[in-house]
């Protein structure tokens, strides 16, 4: 039932792509000021979470924790699924998706995007090999090595995602060296949140109960990651607030910017951080269902954060003439307007649908459900 809903969503996404191909990006809310919109929010969320979810595998194979080892294959599958979903959205949002072969054959070595094309493809290959070493008995001696390669590579991959923004000198929201490490830590939180939800769903459908010890460890880990991610976001904004030239931008994002401060405070800070932390740490709470809800909140908070970071960051006008009031016919000096249209939202959800389908089919046909190891051996 859920699978058919997901398939329908994917179809709706593909139909949106067809419409965008037919009419151009005019049917989206994106324009010459806000050039990246909702599709990028979805794509970057999935790509960042795809890297973070592999933490579960790394803790198993690189740091030798058996409870996580049993979950490593599922984490690998989720990573592939989200990477596929995110990259599909990113590719289909291009102005000329038909020219994707050009992106594969013409590399500009100074371009972060070109690096990311390599980082993503190699990541895909590395995770496939890693899954193979885990699931094929003959290959198991190699599993630790493959796990280590994946461990290193995902740091490179999320650094690459952060660098897309940190190398941008033009806009005030970006161009900061804190962004790559911030994205890495954020990926831990989002990836683990996605893992928690999928794991709870699988256990629920199979009528299984999650081992209490494993459940406790994994929920505490989520809590730590959420706090660490929030720390980086706070430092990013504090640094900006300290620089006089950035104060106007921060006032826009944190106070006067309408939808953006609302999403930042209510969506990211409260829904994405404070409430999940309460659900995880409040005495008597922190049970499986609380953690599942907390995870869902972390994910929603993540979307809110990316909306503010990507779209809010572009909505604020470029500082072409610092110290001057500016006006023109091209939106100079004014806040950029953006309202997401149905096709681009459907494209984003289409990517989520792809990730869901890959996960559902993978779990059905292969042995991805975590096999619990008896508690005393942990």
């Amino acid at each position: 039932m859920l699978t058919s809903v997901a398939a329908l969503i994917v179809l709706a996404g593909l139909y949106s792509v067809h419409m965008m191909e037919e009419h151009g990006h005019i049917i989206t809310g994106m324009n010459n000021q806000i050039v990246w919109g909702i599709p990028h929010v979805f794509a970057i969320f999935m790509i960042v979470a795809a890297s973070g979810v592999l933490n579960v595998s790394s803790i198993g194979s690189v740091f030798n924790k058996p409870a996580y080892k049993a979950r490593a294959p599922l984490a690998g599958l989720l990573s592939l699924a989200m990477l596929a979903g995110g990259l599909t959205v990113l590719m289909l949002d291009l102005g000329r998706p038909d020219r994707i072969i050009v992106a594969a054959t013409n590399y500009n070595l100074t371009s972060v995007f070109a690096w990311n094309v390599l980082l993503y493809s190699a990541m895909f290959a590395a995770v496939v090999v890693y899954l193979w070493t885990m699931m094929e008995a003959r290959m198991q001696p190699w599993s630790k090595h493959a796990g280590f390669v994946v461990f290193i590579w995902r740091f490179a991959l999320t650094t690459g995602t952060g660098v897309i923004f940190s190398f941008l000198v033009a806009r005030q929201a970006y161009g900061s060296a804190i962004l790559p490490p911030m994205f890495i830590v954020i990926s831990f939180a989002w990836g683990l949140a996605v893992f928690h939800i999928v794991q709870s769903a699988i256990y629920q459908w199979n009528g299984k109960m999650l081992d209490e010890y494993v459940q406790k460890r994994m929920k505490n880990l989520l809590g730590v990651f959420v706090v660490a991610a929030l720390y980086f976001v706070v430092v990013y904004h504090l640094t900006n607030l300290y620089f006089a030239r950035q104060v106007e931008f921060e006032r826009f994002i944190l106070a006067d910017g309408g939808i953006y401060p609302l999403l930042f405070w209510a969506g990211y800070v409260v829904l994405g951080n404070l409430l999940p932390l309460l659900l995880i740490y409040l005495p008597g709470w922190g049970k499986t269902q609380h953690v599942a809800v907390a995870s869902a909140m972390v994910i929603l908070g993540g979307f809110a954060f990316l909306y503010v970071f990507i779209i809010g960051g572009q909505a604020f006008p470029l500082s072409i003439f610092p110290g001057f009031e500016v006006k023109s016919s091209f939106g100079d000096g004014v806040i950029g307007l953006y309202s997401p249209s149905l096709p681009e939202v459907l494209l984003g959800f289409g990517g989520v649908g792809i990730a869901f389908l890959i996960t559902a089919v993978g779990i059905r046909v292969l042995n991805f459900v975590p096999r619990e190891i008896p508690k005393k051996t942990l």
Binding site: G24, L168, Q314, G323, F330
Partner: protein, 236 residues
């Protein structure tokens, strides 16, 4: 040394020789085609005299639209290769009007970030987009500090054959490269009623533009970024 080893050595030597002979002319021609030999000779640029640029006058914009087949629309999804900006110094109240377009930087961020190499800089300093390589990712639009680029949001009709454009690709001021290559001046420079846009070769010490920028104070917009734009402004 065995006979096989000697043979292998000879074979390797010979193949390297053959490879060198076959690649060399290619490399030579590649250099010629990219005009590397005289890269230092020409750098096209502009000097804009803001004191003469009248507020409300839009002649350069209109000329650009006509020359390049742009619609002239000013919605947030319409292409604007050149626009008039009115600026007012917040602390002194002094007002200035000026045209803003691609600044044809020496170190263009758009070229650095373009994944396919569609954004490129010609040997004579003009920054262009190769419409056949552009995949429409818009990363260059994120990277340009002058907001000089537009994305073609809709299918196009009645294009100017000299200025090919394409839906789903990014575009910006070409400095009227098709006119320059025929020895003409950019359309905006010709159209300006006050002759506020001076076009020429920045690298030729005898050119009018080089003489002017040597003798009068001029500035680059966002010079702090170190991009060394080819467009300079006087009276900013």
């Amino acid at each position: 040394m065995s006979e096989i080893n000697v043979q292998r050595r000879q074979f390797l030597k010979m193949s390297m020789g053959v490879a060198a002979v076959s690649i060399a002319p290619g490399i030579f021609l590649f250099d010629m085609a990219h005009g590397k030999a005289d890269a230092n000779k020409v750098r096209w640029g502009m000097l804009i005299e803001t004191a003469n640029c009248a507020e409300g006058c839009n002649d350069c914009v209109t000329a650009c639209n006509t020359e390049n087949g742009l619609s002239g629309g000013v919605s947030s999804t319409d292409s604007q290769w050149i626009r008039k900006i009115e600026i007012k110094d917040i602390s002194t109240g002094r007002e200035t009007s000026l045209p803003m377009m691609c600044q044809h930087c020496e170190h263009p961020p758009c070229v650095d970030v373009c994944p396919t190499g569609a954004s490129f800089k010609r040997a004579d300093g003009i920054v262009l987009v190769d419409k056949h390589l552009c995949i429409g990712c818009r990363y260059c639009m994120m990277a340009c500090p002058y907001k000089a680029r537009s994305f073609v949001h809709e299918p196009l009709q009645n294009q100017n054959p000299d200025v090919p454009r394409g839906r789903g690709t990014v575009e910006s001021c070409t400095m009227c490269v098709h006119r320059i290559d025929q020895g003409q001046q950019p359309a905006c420079a010709v159209a300006c009623p006050n002759k506020s846009i001076l076009f020429g070769n920045l690298n030729d010490p005898d050119s009018e533009i080089a003489t002017r920028i040597r003798t009068v104070a001029s500035a680059q917009v966002r010079a702090d970024l170190g991009l060394n734009p080819g467009v300079r402004y006087q009276g900013l």
